[in-house]
Symmetry: C2
Subunit: 596 residues, 2 copies
Amino acid sequence: ILGAGALVLSAQAATSGSANESLLQMQKNPNDWVMPTGTYNNWRYSTLDQINSKNVKNLQVAWTMSTGTDRGLEGQPIVIGDMMYYETSYPNYVYAVNLNHPDQIAWKYTPPRDSNAPPVACCDVVNRGPAYGDGMIFVDALDARLYALNAKTGKVVWSADNGHPKDGQTMTGAPMVVGNNVIVGIAGGEYGVRGYITAYNIHTGKMVWRGYSEGPSKDTLIDPATTINGATGKPVGPHSSIKTWKGDEWKVGGGTTWGWYSYDPKLNLIYYGSGNPGTWNPSQRPGKNRWSMTIWARNPETGKVKWVYQMTPHDGWDYDGVNEMVLVNVKYHGKEVPALVHFDRNGFSYVMNRENGSPIAIHKYDPSVNWATGINPKTNEPIVDPAKMTEAGKDVKDICPSSQGDKDEQPVSYDPKTGLFYAPLNHLCMSYQAFNVKYKAGFPFVGAIVNMIPGPGGYRGRFIAYNPMTGKTEWQIHDMFQDWGGALTTAGNVAFYGTLKGMFRAVDIKTGKILYQFKTPSGIIGNPITYMHDGKQYVAVLSGVGGWAAIGMADNLHKSSAGLGAVGLNATLTDYTNLGGTLMVFSLPSKVASAN
Amino acid sequence: ILGAGALVLSAQAATSGSANESLLQMQKNPNDWVMPTGTYNNWRYSTLDQINSKNVKNLQVAWTMSTGTDRGLEGQPIVIGDMMYYETSYPNYVYAVNLNHPDQIAWKYTPPRDSNAPPVACCDVVNRGPAYGDGMIFVDALDARLYALNAKTGKVVWSADNGHPKDGQTMTGAPMVVGNNVIVGIAGGEYGVRGYITAYNIHTGKMVWRGYSEGPSKDTLIDPATTINGATGKPVGPHSSIKTWKGDEWKVGGGTTWGWYSYDPKLNLIYYGSGNPGTWNPSQRPGKNRWSMTIWARNPETGKVKWVYQMTPHDGWDYDGVNEMVLVNVKYHGKEVPALVHFDRNGFSYVMNRENGSPIAIHKYDPSVNWATGINPKTNEPIVDPAKMTEAGKDVKDICPSSQGDKDEQPVSYDPKTGLFYAPLNHLCMSYQAFNVKYKAGFPFVGAIVNMIPGPGGYRGRFIAYNPMTGKTEWQIHDMFQDWGGALTTAGNVAFYGTLKGMFRAVDIKTGKILYQFKTPSGIIGNPITYMHDGKQYVAVLSGVGGWAAIGMADNLHKSSAGLGAVGLNATLTDYTNLGGTLMVFSLPSKVASAN
Ligand SMILES: O=C(O)c1cc(C(=O)O)c2c(n1)C(=O)C(=O)c1cc(C(=O)O)[nH]c1-2
Ligand SMILES: O=C(O)c1cc(C(=O)O)c2c(n1)C(=O)C(=O)c1cc(C(=O)O)[nH]c1-2
């Protein structure tokens, strides 16, 4: 059981000589929000409590800013001192705002546009936010170019090609700065892109290392002798990736890396997940398709892999394993164990020993999960229900969850006071008809017709308070559409999240009671953050519907199975909200704030 | 002097059998906002006072709605009972929102798109709002088609072609329903469109009458024998239009009708102004170019012209005369006279007897006006400074105001309690170089290179409290950019307006003190309205920068003289705001509202 007392903010536990000392220091200052995930441990938790469960009902919109875009806004601002920075969906405008003058734009940077990028972005032209390090702002552009900008001026310090849209490669994730490296992923799993994660030197822009998800050891940076397979507790052995694929299929094997990253400075490991194996048609790729659908622990300086754990071997549902890893310590067999908690697309929550990848607790966090009956305690692999296994030429019905998973990229928040996870979720099922498809660089490599439907009960979204050690849901809120925006918790005992309809909510973390809600201009798929400026606590969130959840609206698609099977599901979303793009910043009226 | 006691809300003074009785009744209900201008007399004044100068500092954003567009939002919602309706810039989305469920879209109507329209819209693809009548919503689409929609369902009842984008014709104005007619104008003065105003039967969609701004009597509906020229007090006589043009030039003579309309039910007259004469190059069109730049009084049932008054004969500056006519009664020579007040682009404010068009008081409302030294009391025509007269081949410098006028389409508000006008204004000068140009249908017929600069003092916008009888400015606020959004006054002693930077302001009508301001997502060029719902007063305004003031941003133009000379002027506007589109609705916190 996760005991609050037993939990230590990893980043505060120790520092390592190799880590970026200044970010490690900076993340302790609750007035700032120094990285996309708030802190390296991915808690999205703030110790600020000026806004709290007692007064949050008085929350107001403090100021707003149009982003100048109308596609899905999936990121969040970062706040460093007086400055706020955020990035929009394509064309990836980057804004700097001086919080003393939020009626002005301190600078704006627009990367050169590569019109080849939007057509190969699978799930709207989203971006998950910029990162900060050493006076620079690091931004991914959709066309897979990485930019280092001078934080003061917005001028380009360096840029690096991290991929090529012509080959189906894009970048949507948020970079993470660790030590002297900025670490970025790649997207394009629906185009047969072989995933990799890359570290660039923050000062020179030179590539330091790149680790692929599939291929020989020199590509994956897996050491057959020392890299542990978390499922077995043993070294992965030779050819651990290639031998799980038919022929050369691994070369277009997917396993992209477009999710969130986390970092443990003490163990000096970064954590992230890899996505679906190339082509959604499993018949075309016999084998376990390693290391797609895998949790990775790598050394941030060398890329060397400490351990891997594949959650969904031989995926047949597009259950990308990229969702974030939240670093907490848990009590396990009487000991405090450094763990990571991960809500996978496949509907299972994983508590893993983050030192060696061994499973601690795995539970279904949505009871409707039916593709697997559970986890085999011997193999630590899922026990797949053969009736729900997909194959070429077969239309498999009522698989739960859908390809969007019970949770997709929308990040959870961990509150150390309650020891619970606050998770915005999907609640969907699907039919899935696989078919053979030929790879051609830059062309869709999907091979499945999917149709998503609401899960049992008819609602499509949930916001839950959850204990991943026990699998117990303490309370839940049902929402009409997927809750595709992230969560934030604070010392004020409030959890914040936004709905696809555009309601921005403050919820009592103890009871799940909605204490405040506000109708923002568009639907919310962004992640709330909080910061303090001039003695006042603010909560900021981007409002701009889109992402895969609202791909029908974003891409103006109407065929039910379009948008990788997601369009029919949310056809009525247009009855509730519009495309848009606004940064919304909330605070208490001055009297209430100072009475605190 | 305008005495508050002497002022009567015209529409309440009497009703005429021919008028739409229900709108005349409805406009008395301050809970609603039944037509674009609030009331037929164009006051944009509300008797609501729950929000007032004492408590407005507590104003909050109540809810918001993305419009799904990012071009200039120049209109305002109308409110009929529980329903709100508004229209966006092109593609002219029309939204209905049930105020009991502002988190839903009751219906949305999108007219078919004619891609020929946007390129021929002179000044951004704006729209000034829908009108209501007899269970229908009337909307102009940019492509010059007029739609009658079922207010309950949004279904098209009828539609009518009011012009053709291929000929340079567009529609941007707000319709006005009078009696059984819906009255609409036409735009395209920069394409040599000969202006007209048209009445359609609200039930059948059939044209009832059309009155041109130039041409023979059968076109203009001017009766040479009975139509009065307000300047002379005498009938206009034969060929009053054609004889003021060289040859056939009147056929491409401009005088479009894209502004606001007003209506006096007692006199049974509608009032509006006509725009600039065709080609901005005056050398090409010797003569007074009648009836461009003219105030018109027409019978709403027949279109017959009661009187005309030309403000800027032989225009050489693009001082379109389309700005709104505000109907008030004034004390003049001891008598109460039915008057109209008009702030013209040319920098003069006009108080006219609205029965017969005779001038009562004409003053410069911006002291920087220099194209004319005053009004000749004998001819009632401006005394033009020859040094500021433009002509082909000459670059005339430092003309004030600029082509955007000291006020453009942004409507003023009249407060009967103070007897003053609250006017959002421009404060600009320009250089103007005319040249010969050939007419070709659907192609620009401009013939001038203009460059606008800030007026004396360096600021570009003003918000003033003004007495048009005396020409006295009671107070003024200087703004960095043009104040291109309209004004609203209320019985709560507050004037509301928005700035191009996007600040939405509540101002003390007595002192001009800014009591409240809020940074909306984008710049404001829309017009605030107020209404009461469920016992709570709301103020609503559209935030979405654009229009001619921000044409550089809207059209992504960068050459200084582009956008008809407006681009260079506001090149730094991008340092303050972004394109966007949001309906912003404000109210007091429940406690403050009920303590009222
Ligand atoms: O395989 C990939 O490379 C890839 C990329 C992305 C992306 O970059 O946004 C998504 C996915 N897959 C994906 O499977 C998915 O569910 C998804 C949702 C979203 C979103 O932004 O809403 N992106 C992506
Ligand atoms: O001559 C015309 O037909 C015509 C049309 C319009 C329009 O339709 O918006 C404008 C003007 N002229 C014009 O002169 C002008 O200053 C102007 C400003 C705006 C605006 O929306 O900001 N429109 C127009």
